[in-house]
Point group: C2
Chain length 369, copies 2
């Protein structure tokens, strides 16, 4: 199966092999060693000297954790949204009693740092800014360097959803002054879903001391105190740690710069391929994501049938649209374990299936010349 | 390694093999089929017609989920505790703003249903009762049939931590009228940690409608609505589903009655073995657990050295004591993938190591006669 959804991504054989490791005592020396090694490697991926904590749960769990550990009910927060995942972060903050100022941008565009500046200026009571680095629902990457500079100017706490970017797209936690950054195992790490990662800055820890949103399972303080003795507070998903240990070593060998360049290259290939078929990207290309490419389903083509035929005839699995984009777009994941060949096969499959469903792709000049 | 801790338990080869399955789309037809099959089998294990939801997280996550989905801040709840895990459930309720009436029993004994009756009579404002079925910290199993009868007499909501019992010790969700029951993959299911299960009764669903504790990741309503279309709200730990699918089939083949009898038999063997060495059980034997046996470390024996020697010389891994029992007891897990032979090897290892650390076990008559 050519699984091309924005997570879970396929896993290399050595990672799947590691998943089959027999259980060990999660409070014993073997786990201790592994947890410390993994944590050090994650710090390299996050490009940070901050604490990095590993939680057993999905990315959404890390989103919830990031909110409840640094905020109190009634806190005013600015939620910058460019799609489904930005909205989700805002909703979590609201559910836990934050007073949420929403700043939303048109689907397919990035957040405008100047608009963020304006909102922060107009709302001095804002305590924290929640923002998505890479919006998986539309295939857009925000300019975190620019956004973080604005947020720092105002001295606000900065909470960044880097779930689908960190490990695939350059991310500089310390340079950008990000207080809480989060990510998830099933993304660029090439590991099955089940673990989430959060980095916490010194300011993040100070905020957590004052934060009154209720928390137990996701409590950063407990995670930090257990990490000091090489453990997690609750029974961790041991198998995924084994897999992550192997995949992080693999990433370190490839080198993060090379990982980023590979993602940039195949992402460009995906966008060029989609356009070469005469399909339209959802994303304004200036901010197109290097981990996922969303394209509009041409009028008249049934999305369900298109997905089905891609899988049954070509073994290619793409992702549907979410929320208001459901039925209107498809998404190609190209993060983690992904090669140029994988993307060519997706484009070829689309070129073959679309005409059968009533859409005539642009003839492929590049391949026939 | 003879891993004899009360979870994670060792996994059969076929389960570990399933862990190595390549990723699939968690919103596609393959996952749908698997989720439905697993859910039906879990209902058999829980002995219930109630909804059973699968959450990506540890058992403690299921504990938190069970509290926040049915309670509101200010609700008066009775937390019945016979050890660490009972205390944990009480603490979670407290963190989320419940007014907790604590009824604690001496470590090593079970909860007294009459004491629960008395407390419910004296505190008519109690809305729900939180209770641990099997207390892993001491090796005690509460009499859920008797306790649930009392709770039903008063018409209270009944929330039961069956994390380390359900799948190993007879548990009858519907017969006992349990509104919320929870369990975890790394226990009797013979599967790695990372998934937790909760059953929700009709009364539980009604309570959830009124419940005002904040929740998002653990929200039962979201889990139920996604389950209806064969999905989970957030990206699930796909690999552990694969493993669980295999292990549940294996359990169905063995038959739950046989599973329970096997656990009862090896538990008796563990207790007899420990006593045959001249060691003392933590548990009053009337309520001794069939999944874990705790014994007191003899005076003069260093707990750390004992654990180390058991592992280095005999490849046997036991669990330490938790909380106030740390350094005072050791625990033998005998749940899930465990045979008579595994237990004999533990007792033999103790018989060999203890004299080297200053404790002379009772000579083994049974084996020499």
């Amino acid at each position: 199966m050519n699984l091309r959804i924005p997570g879970p991504t396929p896993c290399p054989d050595e990672v799947l092999e590691a998943m089959g490791h027999q259980m060990i005592n999660h409070r014993g020396p073997e786990f201790q060693d592994m947890l410390r090694r993994i944590t050090e490697n994650l710090k390299k991926v996050f490009d940070t000297k901050n604490d990095v904590l590993i939680l057993t749960g999905s990315g959404t769990g890390a989103m919830e954790a990031s909110v409840v550990n640094v905020l109190s009910p009634g806190d005013v927060v600015l939620a910058v949204s460019i799609g489904e995942f930005g909205d989700r972060l805002a909703e979590i903050a609201q559910v836990y009693g934050a007073s949420v100022v929403r700043l939303s941008f048109t689907m397919g565009t990035a957040a405008d740092p100047e608009a963020i500046r304006k909102t922060l200026k107009e709302n001095p009571s804002i305590k924290a800014v929640l923002v998505t680095h890479n919006e998986t629902s539309t295939g857009i990457t925000n300019d975190m360097a620019a956004i973080s500079q604005v947020v720092r100017e105002f001295g606000k706490l900065l909470v960044v959803d880097g779930i689908s970017s960190i490990s695939s797209i350059p991310f500089h936690t310390d340079e950008w002054g990000i207080d809480i950054a989060m990510s998830g195992s099933q993304k660029g790490y090439m590991v099955p879903p089940g673990l989430a990662f959060v980095s916490v800055s010194q300011r993040g820890w100070e905020a957590s001391k004052a934060a009154k949103m209720p928390r137990f399972y996701w409590d950063f303080g407990r995670a930090k105190s257990y990490l000091a003795r090489g453990q997690t507070p609750w029974t961790p998903a041991v198998s995924i740690f084994y897999a992550l240990d192997v995949s992080l070593e693999r990433m370190m060998e490839e080198g993060m710069e090379n990982v980023y360049q590979r993602h940039a290259r195949i992402a460009q290939q995906a966008r060029d391929g989609v356009k070469s078929l005469g399909l339209s990207l959802v994303a304004d290309e200036r901010w197109a994501s290097n981990t996922v490419t969303a394209f509009k389903i041409p009028p008249g083509v049934d999305p369900g049938t298109l997905l089905q035929r891609l899988q049954s005839d070509h073994d290619v699995v793409l992702a549907t649209g979410q929320g208001s984009l459901a039925g209107k777009i498809l998404r190609i994941g190209h993060l983690g374990y992904c090669t140029d060949k994988d993307i060519s096969l997706v484009i070829d499959a689309l070129r073959s299936v679309l005409p059968k469903l009533g859409f005539q792709p642009t003839p492929s000049r590049a391949r026939r010349s």
